[in-house]
């Protein structure tokens, strides 16, 4: 809330010293975002940290809320679910997004690229929850347009499709379909940034398509891939909408207490334990931050080119 005044104060500082302050426009553009970031990102985080270390009466509780979470019977299962989901989702994201972006880049020369790029992006243009709703229809063999496909796998009812063992695959499918399109477009843009001279030189040296991809394009995409993995990890660890909607659609048969974020939600609104809910979300934030730092350091993400 004090941010907008920061550039203002500086701009209003003794005149004459500098008639035109070079960063002013940039700060002006960033200011509204910073306000929103603080109001809806940072302050709630601070609120959560405060809750995580206090009991219901507002007294300092040490790590009691964290031990409550760790001792809850749903915690280990939810952690395992999220870990398995992250494995499936990150692997599919890295392999398929990079693969499809390279394919798209190769096809771009032939004119079909634009259409394909648009096609990849469409699902991403739907709002998150809405695209999950689409999947709920896709997964019900009685109404799904792909029902014949489900039936070939021996899945005749919605209940069979959403059997507990199928959930990591089902959720990865939903997340990939709704989220990967945007990343393919981003990777495609990054590939376009690679100088054609470089590729030309490689070709003259006798490199094939595979070798160009393996030794030139993918190494140059590395930072983009790291960026994608960091963000996808944070999003994946916060898995909530997909299992929650699945749980509602199946009347609680599948997806209840499935992810850590759902457990946090249950702590807050079913067990009336805001402290434990906050402790769990703070823990999730820490894990995401540690993973992000690890990736940034290991990959030299901020090193100058």
């Amino acid at each position: 809330m004090s941010t907008p005044s920061v550039p203002g104060d500086r701009a209003g500082s003794p005149s004459g010293r500098r008639a035109w302050w070079p960063g002013r426009a940039g700060h002006g553009f960033v200011a509204p975002y910073a306000v929103l970031l603080i109001a809806f990102g940072v302050v709630p985080t601070g609120y959560a940290i405060d809750f995580a270390f206090t009991d219901a009466a507002g007294h300092f509780a040490g790590l009691a809320n964290f031990t409550t979470v760790a001792g809850d019977f749903r915690f280990a299962a939810a952690g395992a679910h999220v870990a398995l989901y992250l494995l499936f989702w990150l692997a599919s994201l890295v392999v398929l997004v990079v693969g499809l972006a390279l394919l798209l880049h190769n096809l771009a020369a032939r004119g079909v690229g634009t259409a394909l790029r648009f096609l990849y992006y469409i699902p991403g243009a739907l709002a998150g929850a809405a695209s999950v709703m689409v999947w709920l229809f896709m997964l019900d063999p009685t109404v799904s347009p792909a029902g014949f496909l489900l039936r070939t796998f021996g899945l005749d009812t919605f209940g069979q499709v959403i059997a507990p063992g199928h959930l990591p695959l089902v959720l990865t499918g939903i997340a990939f379909w709704t989220g990967a399109g945007g990343w393919i477009v981003v990777m495609h843009g990054a590939l376009n940034n690679i100088s054609p001279d470089l590729l030309e030189a490689a070709r003259i040296d006798g490199a094939g398509r595979w070798q160009i991809a393996r030794h030139i394009q993918i190494p140059l995409l590395r930072k983009w891939i790291v960026y994608m993995v960091i963000l996808a990890f944070a999003v994946g660890a916060q898995l909530f909408v997909e299992p929650q909607l699945l749980s509602q659609a199946s009347n609680g048969v599948a997806g209840r207490d499935y992810s850590l974020n759902q457990l946090s939600y249950d702590f807050a609104f079913q067990n009336d334990d805001l402290g434990a809910a906050a402790a769990l979300s703070v823990g999730l934030l820490l894990v995401s931050l540690v993973v992000a730092v690890l990736f940034v350091v290991k990959s030299g993400f901020f090193d100058a080119e």
Binding site: T3, L37, T45, G128
Partner: protein
């Protein structure tokens, strides 16, 4: 929703500007201080066990109802032109949405905003609302004992905590055996009085009339129809925060074995009676269907559109070892009065009218009224519609007093537990008898997570 979460998460990890960080940290600090103060203030006014009346004043009465009960509030406004009523519709806490609990805990934080009277579709609201200091005791002076005596026996049991009444039951949902009288007569089958006869008839139907159903076990409330009626001790709430759980006693296994037999010979459906699959393929092939009182109007008449003059109800079967039938119960809502209300007299008037009046409960309400005199009017109205093959009044009335009292109302949802632990196993073709230990384990876990003292066995 996901998009926004993603964007925020994205930017948070990319934060690298020291200035922004500094501002952010100071904001966090300021906020933590404010938050700390807030809660410090709240503890000083900690809710006691007694009932401290708020200073009374005139003003509009705030009433929260679900869309079905909106008719009741509107009718009250019509018949009481001088009453000032502020009607708010909400989801009625249906399907365990916990909306009311969430809101009340927020109001407790801000010390204002509570509704005066609330309708909930759930019977277990007192399990948290008493502790949260939200519900006012009703039998300690607010509502005369003579009025309270009018409720059906046991109807207000879900509302009693430590001997004090904290809510009023809106309607009953006692289970009965619905059946197609026309078909039973045509095939010459007598209505089964015992579960043994019921099972035998199921076996006969499986071979003689393939495709016809004697029941459905695919809903989340399946345990409330079959296990409850069989006196299975899965949910014996023995105190405000105490429960005894035993799902492997003979009372449970006998019913699970019966369901297994009938599921296996396909006379017991595994689909929810509300699923499109059931409506399309199975609704026209129902011979019998054990279920709550509201199945008659809501399912047969409303959803399945079964023609007039076919369906009727018999008492739930009982085990031959037991002498009388015991019924289960599936739902039936409750009314709560806020202990924070500044208009207690008006609120009590409304509450009494909405639960006992013939004008609403007897003539308009969709469910079987919990208040016995209103139930008489309601039953007479049902009989005059001539939808059922014969008069079902006697059956419903008798069943209202036969609901087994050993099944309580805890804070954890038995329906949600059944859905997540037993139904996936049934879908995978496992026998229900083999799923009973897992069911017990889940109940114990969820009860403990809600702070219950859990006793296993007996």
């Amino acid at each position: 929703m996901t998009k926004q979460t993603r964007a925020v998460g994205a930017r948070r990890s990319g934060k690298d500007r020291r200035g922004v960080l500094l501002v952010a940290l100071s904001a966090v600090f300021a906020l933590s201080v404010v938050a700390g103060c807030d809660r410090g203030g709240e503890t000083s006014g900690a809710p006691g066990r007694g009932f401290h009346q708020a200073p009374q004043s005139d003003g509009a009465l705030t009433v929260w109802v679900d869309s079905t009960r909106l008719a009741a509030a509107k009718l009250y406004r019509q018949s009481h032109p001088s009453a000032k009523l502020n009607i708010v519709t909400y989801d009625g806490d249906a399907n365990g949405s916990n909306y009311l609990q969430t809101k009340v805990s927020l109001f407790n934080r801000t010390r204002k905003g509570w509704p005066d009277v609330v309708f909930s579709t759930q019977n277990n609201e007192t399990s948290w609302a008493v502790q949260a200091g939200f519900t006012a005791p009703l039998n300690t002076g607010l509502i005369p004992q003579a009025t309270l005596a009018g409720w059906a026996r046991g109807a207000n049991d879900p509302c009693v905590v430590n001997g004090t009444l904290y809510c009023l039951r809106n309607d009953l949902a006692q289970t009965v055996l619905w059946y197609n009288a026309a078909l039973m007569r045509k095939w010459g089958y007598p209505v089964p009085a015992t579960w043994e006869d019921y099972e035998a008839l199921g076996k006969k139907v499986a071979t003689g009339h393939t495709g016809y159903l004697v029941g459905s076990a695919g809903d989340n409330f399946t345990p409330e129809i079959y296990m409850w009626a069989s006196k299975c001790g899965a949910n014996q709430i023995t105190g405000p925060k105490a429960v005894t759980v035993n799902t492997t006693s003979p009372n449970c296994t006998r019913m699970a074995a019966l369901l297994d037999t009938l599921v296996k010979n396909k006379t017991m459906s595994k689909s929810s009676v509300f699923s499109s699959d059931f409506d399309k393929n199975e609704a026209s092939r129902i011979l019998m269907l054990p279920g709550p009182a509201w199945f008659g109007g809501a399912l047969f008449q409303g959803t399945f559109k079964t023609p007039k003059g076919q369906i009727t109800a018999a008492p739930m079967p009982h085990w031959s070892a037991d002498s009388t039938p015991t019924a289960g119960n599936v739902g039936g809502g409750t009314w709560l009065l806020s202990a924070h209300s500044a208009h207690l007299k008006a609120a009590t008037d409304f509450l009494t009218w909405v639960t006992t009046s013939d004008d609403y409960q007897g003539k308009v309400a969709p469910g079987y009224p919990a208040y016995a005199p209103a139930a008489k009017t309601w039953l007479a109205n049902q009989a005059s519609s001539h939808y059922y093959e014969n008069d079902i009044s006697g059956t419903l009335q008798a069943a209202a007093g036969q609901v087994w009292p050993g099944w309580g109302y805890g804070q954890f949802s038995q329906e949600a537990i059944w859905a997540a632990t037993v139904i996936p196993g049934m879908t995978a073709g496992k026998a229900m008898v083999s799923l009973l230990p897992a069911w017990q384990k889940a109940i114990v876990n969820y009860a403990r997570a809600d702070g219950y003292q859990v006793k296993v066995g007996q």
